[in-house]
């Protein structure tokens, strides 16, 4: 009996411990090229059992599980692998091939024409902070981007002139929404500053050609600014500047933040100290304010609202070029408001939606010797984009937008009781779609198309865009881009004649980029054809047509190194430009006055931690620019002297929350001449009298102290400088 009992017990024991019998699973994990993947996670789903692959991609583990189980293999950068196993104590050998997943980190990007500045992405050439700390730029976005290849220095404008294009051919977009006038007002022939401060943005994408079908109404370049998300810390910032002051406050809640800033600028005290080329009647005064609200909605939703207003005035006296004995008084009052709301959300795991509405209001009252010109422009832009993945190899986006703007200029003469109004309203409706097709992580094709209807010019158009990116290895990649672009003629011509077509450009770009940790090398070459440019007989702009044309071609080099020298960051840009146009009232196809063949700049930044200082210097060179001297027979045959500028800046951080900043442009004191202007009629001796267009002052000296008050120690305004 006892024996039988023992038997039963034993039998039970055996059945129970049979559960402990092990199955050995081994094998190896390779990629599609047959190379071992070390560190992959091999597991039996819903159990603890599994192993990591070794250097050779091999794994081995045993399990007590029985029956059907799923073997799961995962590794970052690869698609998950699943296989059903039948476990029954016999050893299993499984060889697994993981397919690479297309992911933004590893995948090729299209770099033709594109300079992206972002703090988040790792493979960027330019960081948002770079804009703030570039000497000579005085924290102006355009100023900093002017040190990159593809731009031509046009000192009297301050705008971005890209690859033989005029300043208005570069359009600014904030969160995808167009800004009608991105630059503040300035006296004639003095540089204007951008209206938007760099610290507002987490990403800046500056494209010098071949950009996405999402962006229209830009012939040469798109500057796409991506505003910051919800702020993380409540803080107050104070700035005391040599030309005014500002106060900013950011309030943070759990899921929202609100920031506001008021800035007052008055150049009078500064001009009292530093001799100016300009005879000011009323030096530039402005009051600016901006406010940004951010709210997180649901799990992935984000609402952004941004508003900005500015009111400024200036007045100056200048010698009448037609009659040097006379002086004229010019005054300029400018009111500006911009509001933008933006919403983005996730529709599903693979699809997202974003969209918004922007409104621009601009009022410019100019008075020249009692003659008044009041200019008013209002614009509304509505846009929605849906984007997502069709598969892991195809990403698409599609969107629709409407841009409506109305322009009015009222001119009142001081002599005649004459009032003339010029006005137009333009409405552009556009549809666009674009797809990124990845053949692998190394090869991508982007195909896009943009269709537009312009109500004013009664034009329907379709513009194709296509680009390719090919990654040679971890560091180097090639890109090609082609596209057609169009833009409505400038307000100056459109207000006189609406019986016009849009101006057009075609871009062809080839680019090679090499990024190795902290060193970047880029070379890019391009050809750009202009068609349908505005053309008219001299003195007859109201009878304009689209008979103008032109081209631009050239190559550009860029080198940046943050590695070789300790605590030093520097970059060098060189652009060669060959361009000619026959447009406006030009007598022949020539190089336009804003173009220069050679542009070169070096930006140097040195951090000295012992002194808690950052020193910066920027040297820029532009080869001579053409201008037309009516005293000569040939058209546009004269050349200005070359442009040289050496600017320096110093940031000093005596305490974590205090920054002292000083900068000075043109420390060599060079008298740069941007061009010449001439009287319309010759004087008694038959000579057209002329004068040089110079810098408003040899140097611009800027001093500022920035103080941050915050509960969290160690926070300063460095990014806002």
């Amino acid at each position: 009996m006892i024996r039988s009992l023992l038997h039963t017990s034993l039998a039970l024991l055996i059945t129970l411990s049979a559960g402990f019998a092990q199955t050995l699973i081994s094998g190896n994990v390779m990629d599609e090229k047959g190379e071992a993947i070390p560190g992959a996670n091999v597991s039996l789903k819903d159990t603890y059992d599994g192993a990591s692959t070794g250097i050779d991609g091999g794994f081995r583990f045993s399990t007590q599980e029985k029956g059907k189980h799923i073997l799961l293999v995962t590794f970052i950068g690869y698609k998950n692998y699943e296989e059903v196993l039948e476990l029954a104590s016999t050893a299993l050998t499984i060889n697994i091939v993981l397919k690479e997943s297309i992911n933004q980190l590893e995948a090729v990007t299209i770099t033709a024409g594109a300079f992206t500045a972002s703090d988040e992405s790792r493979r960027t050439v330019f960081k948002a902070l770079d804009i703030a700390t570039t000497a000579g730029a005085t924290a102006d976005i355009a100023g900093a981007l002017n040190t990159l290849p593809g731009t031509q220095k046009v000192g009297e404008s301050g705008r971005l002139f890209v690859r033989g294009g005029e300043g208005n051919e570069t359009r600014t977009f904030i969160d995808g929404l167009v800004v009608l006038d991105a630059y503040g007002p300035a006296a004639p022939d003095t540089p204007s500053r951008g209206r938007f401060l760099p610290f507002m943005f987490k990403g800046t994408s500056f494209s010098t050609g071949g950009y996405s079908a999402e962006y229209g109404q830009a012939l040469s370049s798109a500057l796409v600014l991506d505003s910051k998300d919800k702020q993380e810390a409540t803080r107050t910032d104070l700035g005391i500047l040599s030309v005014g002051g500002d106060v900013a406050h950011t309030q943070v809640w759990d899921r929202a933040s609100l920031a506001g800033k008021i800035q007052y600028t008055n150049i009078r005290p500064y001009y009292g100290l530093i001799n100016q080329e300009i005879d000011w009647v009323k030096p530039f005064v402005s009051l600016e304010g901006s406010s940004a609200y951010r709210k997180e909605i649901g799990k992935h939703g984000m609402l952004k609202a941004y508003g900005n207003f500015s009111s400024s005035a200036l007045g100056l006296r200048q010698v009448n070029i037609e009659n040097p004995a006379q002086t004229q008084v010019l005054s300029l009052d400018n009111d500006y408001a911009y509001a933008n709301t933006f919403y983005k959300d996730q529709l599903s795991e693979k699809w997202a939606i974003r969209g918004g509405l922007s409104y621009t209001y601009l009022n410019n009252d100019a008075v020249l010797d009692g003659n008044q010109a009041d200019e008013k422009e209002e614009g509304l832009h509505a846009k929605t984009v849906v984007e997502g993945s069709l598969s892991d190899r195809v990403e698409v986006k599609a969107g629709a937008e409407v841009i409506t703007r109305s322009y009015e200029q009222v001119f009142r003469s001081s002599i005649f009781p004459l009032e003339r109004t010029l006005a137009f309203t333009e409405s552009i409706t556009a549809l666009f779609t674009e797809g990124d097709i990845y053949a692998s992580n190394a090869f991508v094709t982007r195909v896009g198309v943009r269709a537009e209807h312009n109500s004013l010019l009664n034009e329907v158009s379709v513009d194709p865009r296509i680009s390719f990116g090919y990654k040679l290895n971890n560091e180097g990649q090639f890109s090609l881009a082609y596209g057609t672009f169009r833009q409505s003629p400038k307000n100056d011509w459109l207000k006189l004649n609406t019986n016009l077509g849009q101006e057009r450009a075609q871009h062809y770009i080839a680019n090679y980029q090499f990024i190795d940790n902290n060193r970047t090398f880029r070379i890019e070459t391009y050809y750009k054809a202009y068609r349908q440019l505005i053309k008219f007989t001299p003195g007859q702009p109201a009878l304009s047509n689209n008979g103008g044309n032109g081209y631009a071609r050239g190559f550009e080099l860029f080198w940046r190194d943050r590695e070789s020298l300790k605590r030093v960051d520097y970059w060098i840009s060189y652009s060669y430009l060959d361009t000619k146009r026959n447009y406006l009232d030009y007598a022949a196809s020539v190089m336009p006055s804003f173009a220069s063949a050679h542009n070169f700049s070096v930006v140097y930044k040195h951090f000295i931690s012992k002194w808690k200082m950052q020193l910066g210097a920027t040297y820029s060179y532009s080869s001579p620019r053409p201008y037309h001297n009516p005293n000569e027979d040939a058209f546009m045959n004269s050349r200005t002297p070359a442009y040289h500028d050496l600017s320096i800046n110093i940031s000093y951080l005596p305490k974590p929350h205090v920054i002292v900043y000083a900068s000075c442009t043109n420390i060599l004191g060079r008298d740069n001449i941007f061009g010449y202007e001439y009287a319309a009629t010759p004087d008694a001796s038959g000579v057209f009298s002329g004068r040089a267009i110079r810098q408003p002052a040899r140097n611009f000296l800027f001093l500022g102290v920035f103080i941050t008050l915050s509960k969290d120690k160690g926070m300063s305004q460095l990014p806002s400088l």
């Binding site: 009996m1 017990s9 129970l16 603890y48 599994g50 974590p656 969290d712 160690g714």
Partner: protein
């Protein structure tokens, strides 16, 4: 006789119970073993293997925050051992993902928030010039939040002290505040009472080293 027939049944039941008990306790046991290994690990490979193990446990258990927490901790240590900047970021991304899972299982856990701050602190080291500002702010915030959630959390204090010390050193300002936080951290380490067998215990050496610098 009848009594005797019960014996095998009793044995069987006992064994079954033992097996069940083993299963419930297996989590703690396996975790403890791997946690010890993490504290000893040095190389990227070792950390990767341990992160994988914690991930497997977390996925199998589904409701245990500690497994995700230690996965995240392992990735931070792994990022610390890695030289390549891009790879470091990948590891820190993986760490945040695990912390997100931990947070969903155990909202309001001070340890998770403190570790999140550690991830931000590690981000700074990848590119101090352009990231310092943003991420050191975020790190400070997380550490302060973690201390507010549990003033007894010595790791939150030690990390906060580390951050304060680094900032003070960078600006050449007084380290008094940082050192006060460091000595408080050491004191809390002396008195830390683990709430479970899997409570985080790391960070004491870091706090002591900083405290010694302060002396």
């Amino acid at each position: 006789m009848k009594k005797l027939t019960i014996i095998p049944l009793v044995i069987a039941v006992l064994m079954l119970l033992a097996k069940l008990a083993l299963a419930t306790d297996r989590y703690t046991e396996v975790m403890q073993k791997n946690i010890e290994e993490v504290y000893r690990a040095k190389t990227v490979e070792e950390f990767q293997s341990l992160a994988n193990t914690f991930h497997r446990i977390a996925e199998a258990e589904k409701t245990k925050w500690e497994a995700f927490y230690y996965e995240a901790y392992t990735y931070v240590m792994m990022a610390n051992a890695e030289v390549d900047a891009v790879k470091k970021d990948v590891m820190l991304d993986a760490s945040l993902k695990a912390l997100e899972n931990a947070k969903n299982l155990q909202p309001g856990e001070s340890e998770i928030v403190a570790l999140e701050g550690f991830v931000h602190m590690m981000r700074v080291t990848v590119d101090p010039a352009s990231r310092g500002q943003q991420y050191s702010g975020m790190a400070f915030q997380s550490f302060n939040k973690a201390v507010a959630m549990n003033p007894e959390n010595p790791r939150a204090l030690a990390l906060l002290a580390q951050m304060e010390f680094g900032t003070a050193q960078f600006f050449g300002s007084s380290t008094t505040d940082a050192c006060a936080t460091a000595s408080k951290a050491v004191e809390k380490f002396e008195n830390q009472k683990p709430t479970s067998l899997l409570s985080p215990m790391w960070g004491k050496n870091m706090a002591q080293a900083l405290n010694n610098k302060c002396q």
